[in-house]
Symmetry: C2
């Protein structure tokens, strides 16, 4: 059983991915983990701070994935891309699975500043990393697209973020898989 602070972060993350930052309360968290809402303030000083921590942890988790892939080079670049996509596909297969930052991006203007910065940074680090992977993969002959790698990275990342949201609202379990399969076809040399 994780410690209370972690349980709070886990629950907040889940609630945000379900309905966004403004749709849940400390009361919701408290009920789910069996404590009183006042106790949450011992671990996290305010809702905005908690929100920020949730994103920071989410970002860090993905940074580990990216670092692991980078650390495995030289690697087949098609495999590297699959390794990147694996946790996202896994996300989409869990209940209500969408990207935390995709949800928060929708609420962007109403988000506390500290959270806005984290969300923007998440998007940027993923797109930048993807652009690098595509560039190196093309140089190695593993990918065969034409044009800018940065633009292709924007397409891939935008499509994945959008697909997760659309999948849940339409109930189409193949939304993300279809999008990814088209993208992988496009990249083939």
């Amino acid at each position: 059983m994780p410690d209370t602070s972690t349980q709070i972060l886990d629950t907040a993350e889940r609630l945000i991915t379900q309905g966004g930052f403004h749709a849940f309360s400390f009361q919701d968290i408290a009920e789910r983990i069996g404590i009183k809402k006042a106790s949450i303030y011992y671990h996290h000083p305010a809702k905005a701070a908690l929100g920020r921590e949730v994103i920071a942890r989410y970002r860090a988790r993905f940074r580990e994935v990216l670092a692991a892939i980078d650390g495995a080079e030289p690697i087949d670049y098609g495999d590297a891309l699959s390794l990147y996509l694996a946790p996202i596909i896994q996300l989409s297969q869990s209940d209500d699975g969408v990207c935390l930052c995709g949800v928060l991006g929708g609420e962007y203007i109403a988000l506390p500043e500290e959270m806005q910065a984290e969300v923007g940074a998440f998007f940027e680090e993923h797109q930048t990393w993807l652009a690098g992977l595509l560039e190196r993969g093309r140089a190695a002959g593993a990918f065969g697209f034409t044009g800018s790698a940065a633009k292709m990275a924007k397409l891939m990342f935008s499509a994945v973020e959008g697909a997760l949201i659309i999948k849940r609202a339409t109930g189409d379990d193949r939304q993300l898989d279809d999008v990814i399969s088209v993208l992988q076809d496009l990249l083939r040399p």
Copy 2:
């Protein structure tokens, strides 16, 4: 000056695209159009009903665009696609411009049922329509992609929805344009 009911819908739409359904209140609407919050209930019976109306109107606006394009056939299919994308690009150029349903899709689980249905229907009607356009365009020799038109439609629509969200959070004005330009390159015969 539009009537009060329309002003309420306009303001609600704006507020939802900025921060989502749960981040605004009737008080926010009232302040912006210079009435008291109780007056809103004369025009719209509840927040969920107002939310539903906002989406229904948004959907109808797009249905007009789609019908206009359909009505113009036979047409150059590249032009048809540009006509479809034009209002989306326009959206992205306005302040805080994202797709209303992209935002609401993020909040999906916490949305009133009546709103969930509208959001899902919006996504489905766009993807279905796009698939038809791509299919006919390819048959006419205007598009040169391989594979399923339905899958390509999912990629295009997912990418556009995602790009709008990402654009706002990163401040990258070229996010949507870059994504669209790559997509249009992909479709070239």
